[in-house]
Symmetry: C2
Subunit: 423 residues, 2 copies
């Protein structure tokens, strides 16, 4: 079995250290590295200070074969990654003609004026391989260090702008890494469950988990109302590992069957989308407390227009009456957060938009608006089809954003369950 | 000036290393630490392996006064943080009666059965101060190490579940840290701009930036169509620093005035919400390509119901006609992605929902659906008031999610600009 290639992923920038922006790069990078059999052993964020950057470079050098840096390549004064890499590699910046042509072209193409700061982005450490950035102005850089080592340790420096970094990684860096290293086979299989807690899931599958072979590891990944079971197999024979994974999945599924909604990258919104398409059904949504979030999840999926017709976000009661045809008397007697209202909303949106299925949400997301009998977190959801209308009462917590996300998760799962009952 | 207290934030879990879940904890923690004058010097993620956890503990011990760990405290077999802390501190797990009572109560209160795995969550390292978790089943832990040091280095171990971690930090850990350390004053002022690129912004304010005093640092934080300018002042006299920050802000504002939409934690959705409230106006939204995302941003803001009445997500053209009153002839002649249609959508939603303002989006978010004359990224936005209807054509990229977020950003800014013109 070939030596495992280890990676360290480093983000550079005070903005991440101080918590001013969310770092989505390291997650994406480590996922992609995993998929080509490179195992991330450490992720770090350091500030825009040369000493901190030099220290992490020296540490990472001890731990990893591949060191991927993002950030600190912007045109402004607070970006010092390139200068620090020069210090680390004991070299200097030289203007790279290809990079300069690229930056110049980037601005010309967009009819935008190029500043001196932009021009200087084309100056690169003398020892780096220039990686052209077709998606922005900061070039990528590839360094091969300690040539004594047969493989040669690799350093990669990329801009922090997520879509530039992703484009560079996907099109240029990942293939280059695969060509450079002999990587082992690492396979993942994700089983996605909904509606059962982590510890209860663990007890159900304990015997199966204890019997897993050493080359297969299990992890529990809980998130809003869902728990993902991730199986990771490591070895040399992809076909054999694939088969071993399939066997283990086949063994565990009967134990948790009714809670499994999908596998791998499946999300509830992609699963219901698939079901709607297969059954040639259309969807309409009436949202109150989720305020458009359910619709946004559904339409995140490319091609959603094939089955999603539209939504009515009825935040004001007047809109529930005018647009969804909810009876004023029902609202007056039971209120907006009640079973009769949620039923009328789900059936109303199905009728008004003329779709085969209608789902609805109405509740008190918080932080205000709670009452003794209807505290914050009291939320009704419903799903209406030509067969029946199913309603459910959720008793959630006091956190607005969490309530919105959990409600979305529950109403999409209710939709999934109802779709499975239809032909 | 007191010695600066340095912090290191560590997340533990293969799921983060492998990129299976997003780490939002470190960002939140470092922001909160910054606010109490504790400076994060390093953030790291390590896997669920004892050796990796021991190594980061030893490294962090060299760099930081405060080491905050999250994750690896779950009830399942893959969570080993507690055992590793015992090895690091050379102690052992003992059942903590208070913690056991808390866990037992947690399940009793919810009428849920308690498993042996849950019971074991109450076993803690002998040398830790037990931090009660009122929000979940995994207790928090506080360790004071190397007592030779006057202040005493502090280690904190918290569950990885974000809302449990946040509740523990806010209510128990942050106050305890403030009591334990003498912290310097670190003040931040964020200026939020929209509609100008980072390098152009930098050129406009270059002279001002070069003249900043040493105790005030500047950072550029770009994100979808926005650039945040973060000023950071460090010292001992809060009042004086506050005044120096105010002066610098007053100096720079005239240079970038028309691009500034807010300060500090202001978001476009909170700013437009404030404007709508101040002017006693109501908002209705017609969304096509953004599929509910604009509405979801507006309703993320607590109290949005004071000015937001509702939305019509008209994904299907039929809904544009039936619900928004867009003329079939207009759709037939110009198509859904056109100026006449976007104008009809904005005016239609305003009329149909009876709101004072209507905004609308319609375009090709991608990845499919582009044509030679209307490629992916061709998007129209509009804002209709009782004064006029303003439309804008956006030419964005080929990435669906980015197009949705950028369009939302632009239409909210268009709304902001129009609201400023109204009395």
């Amino acid at each position: 079995m070939p030596e495992t290639i280890l990676a360290e992923v480093v983000t550079i920038g005070d903005e991440i250290l101080f918590g001013q922006i969310t770092d989505t790069n390291t997650q994406w990078i480590s996922t992609e590295l995993t998929n080509i059999g490179i195992r991330t052993v450490r992720k770090s964020s350091v500030g825009d200070q040369a000493e901190a950057i030099l220290q992490i470079l020296q540490e990472a050098h001890q731990r990893a074969n591949v060191i991927i840096l993002t950030g600190g390549l912007g045109p402004t004064k607070d970006d010092i990654t390139k200068h620090t890499l020069c210090r680390y590699f004991n070299t200097e910046l030289v203007m790279n003609p290809d990079a300069l042509a690229m930056v110049t072209g980037f601005f010309a193409k967009r009819g935008r004026a190029m500043t001196e700061l932009n021009r200087l982005q084309a100056a690169l450490p003398a020892n780096c391989v220039y990686i052209p950035n077709h998606w922005g102005t900061a070039p990528g850089m590839w360094f091969e260090h300690d040539q004594g080592d047969v493989r040669g340790r690799v350093y990669v420096s990329l801009p922090g702008v997520p879509f530039e970094m992703k484009s560079l990684m996907t099109n240029l860096i990942l293939p280059k890494l695969q060509a450079h290293f002999r990587t082992p086979v690492i396979l993942h299989k994700m089983i996605r469950t909904v509606g059962i807690g982590e510890s209860f899931l663990a007890e159900r599958i304990e015997q199966w988990e204890d019997a897993l072979p050493p080359q297969i590891r299990l992890a529990y990944l809980p998130s809003f109302g869902q728990v993902k079971l991730r199986l990771t197999a490591t070895g040399t024979n992809a076909q054999q590992l694939q088969q071993e994974l399939a066997e283990q999945v086949a063994n565990v599924l009967p134990l948790i069957d009714q809670h499994v909604f999908g596998f791998d990258s499946d999300e509830l919104e992609t699963v219901v989308g698939r079901l709607l398409k297969e059954k040639s059904l259309t969807l309409g949504i009436a949202e109150s407390c989720t305020g458009g979030y359910v619709s946004a999840q559904i339409t995140k999926v490319p091609g959603a227009s094939a089955y999603f017709w539209g939504s009515i976000v009825s935040y004001a009661n007047e809109i529930k009456v005018k647009e969804l045809g909810v009876d004023r008397a029902v609202l007056a007697e039971h209120g907006a957060v009640s079973e009769p209202t949620i039923q009328a909303m789900a059936e109303g949106v199905r009728r008004v938009l003329g779709t085969s299925v209608g789902i609805a949400t109405s509740g008190i997301a918080g932080p205000d608006g709670g009452t003794p009998d209807k505290p914050v977190g009291t939320i009704w959801i419903a799903c209406a089809t030509d067969q029946r209308t199913v309603t459910r009462l959720l008793k959630l917590g006091q956190y607005r954003e969490q309530n919105i996300q959990l409600t979305t998760n529950y109403v999409l799962n209710l939709l999934r369950e109802e779709l499975l009952t239809l032909n």
